[in-house]
Amino acid sequence: MEQFIQLLIGGIAQGMIYALVAFGYNITFSTSRSFNFSHGNFLMLGGVVGLILYINNQIPFLAMVLAVVLVGLLMGLILYKTSIEPSLKSKSNYAWILATLAFGIILKNMVEVFWSTDDFRFDSPLGNAPIRVMDVGVLPQEILIIVVALCIVVAVESFKKYTIFGKAIVAVSEDKNTASLMGINQQFVILFSFLLSSVIACLAGILVAPITMVGATMGTVLGVKAYAVSIIGGLESGYGVLLGGLIIGLSEAFTARYISTGYKDAPGFLILILVLLFLPSGIFGKTVIKKV
């Protein structure tokens, strides 16, 4: 029982990391019908910058977090200017997939060349001693991940729901032209969505760092699994990522424990394929009738 609860919490924490990365896909997909296919590498960059500043240079934790946010903003801007904006202008409808893949490859390779190809430990500021609650030991970092991830998702969704700029984002997602008739600058909204999603990915990097290792490859598989999370929940749904994250995170934790560690990735992808076969726009997605 004890072990079951530990597994449950570990799986949820892992799932929330996926949910955060997936949330980044959803934010930009709804405004621009595109997302960063190398989002996982933004997460990696957040982890690496965090490691360099906090572990190697002993900069205070909150200062480090602020620096990571700035890095996220900067990377979001560069990504938008070099890959997204030209792709949205081009006629090809898959240019953005390739462009963001290319961007991610460049980013990852740069980290390898200019920093390191090794993986490093990142000790949690909350320490590694499990908190014991009724005989169940839980890592404080896992609790932190769950709390922070939920806070970020709820904060962004509330922002969209209750503020005028947030409503403008929803309006752009729904109908760009009509939104611009309201005086909403759609380009800026799209740029904003990419900045926001990049910052969230970089923050997810520091969140996940203590339970994985930090290195140039840490984001690839994470980013790929987050596609699954995002699509299972529905690319255009906000809170859907939380459910998607739980499904993938828990299936992974339980497969690793009861079947084999090597197969932990398999159920998530199987679920993805099944969901798409039966619900092509995900569990919370909207189906759109195409007019001819």
Binding site: I164, F165, A171, N177, T178, A179, L181, M182, I184, N185
Partner: protein, 243 residues
């Protein structure tokens, strides 16, 4: 004084020339209508004014200043409010949020309080909207959506109101209601209105002046009263015929 002036406007959709040189003007406080059958170029004219389309040549002037190179969101900031064809309410959002977004620029400027009382005023004009203020606007009927689209445009306090096919897809009774509203907005006299409409007689009844477009060109112009009895208007719609 001319509020809006269009000079030799040519607009292409890809390879199609939708407007082949249109010139018209709208004076302060007037209601000017553009009528014509489907595909004549009415909506294209409208979308070019509001910046959704760009002109191949010619110019659009607002109070004498060119706005043809300005993007749509900046045109909106100049005091033009465009009620698009097919209403285009933000279907997933509540009635209230739609109205709020209509006043997006005013709220960003910090006039939120004033906007809220304007929205209350809109509710007095359209009591149905108040009843449904928290309902998703996609669930409204066509007529209610048209009211919402009108209300959304009004809360921005425009100087120039562009109305694109307000009758489209509505039942005749509802069309009556919509045109009564347009008439009452006109009577208030604080807005210049530019109306594009397929239902010629309806538009001509409320319009001070009107232009008839055919195949991307203006074929006829006159006051509403003149045109309503002019048989050429009918020919513009149903062809010259053999009779």
């Amino acid at each position: 004084m001319k509020v809006l002036e269009i000079k030799d406007l040519v607009v292409n959709y890809g390879k199609v020339t939708a407007l082949k040189g249109i010139s018209l003007d709208v004076h302060e406080g007037e209601l000017v209508a553009v009528i014509g059958s489907n595909g004549a170029g009415k909506t294209t004219t409208m979308n070019t004014i509001s910046g959704l389309l760009s002109a191949a040549s010619g110019d659009v002037l607002l109070h004498g200043k060119s706005i043809s190179k300005i993007p749509a969101h900046a045109v909106a900031a100049l005091g033009i409010s465009h009620v698009p064809e097919g209403r285009k309410v933000f279907a997933s959002m509540s009635v209230k949020d739609n109205l709020l977004l209509g006043a997006y620029l005013r709220v960003r400027k910090g006039e939120k309080k004033q906007v809220m009382s304007d929205i209350d005023h809109i509710y007095t004009i359209f009591p149905r909207l108040k009843e449904r203020q928290n309902q998703q606007s996609g669930t409204l009927s066509g007529g209610e959506q048209q009211m919402l689209a009108l209300g959304r445009a009004l809360v921005s306090k425009p100087k120039l109101l562009l109305l694109d096919e307000p009758s489209m897809g509505l039942a005749p009774v509802i069309i009556d209601e919509v045109f009564k509203l347009i008439e009452s907005i006109k009577q208030r006299g604080d807005m210049t209105i530019f109306l594009v409409e397929q239902l010629a007689y309806r538009a001509l009844e409320v319009a001070n002046r009107a232009y008839v477009v055919e195949q991307g060109r203006i074929s006829l112009t006159g006051t509403g009263k003149e045109l309503i009895t002019n048989p050429d208007v009918r020919k513009a719609y149903l062809g010259a015929g053999k009779s």
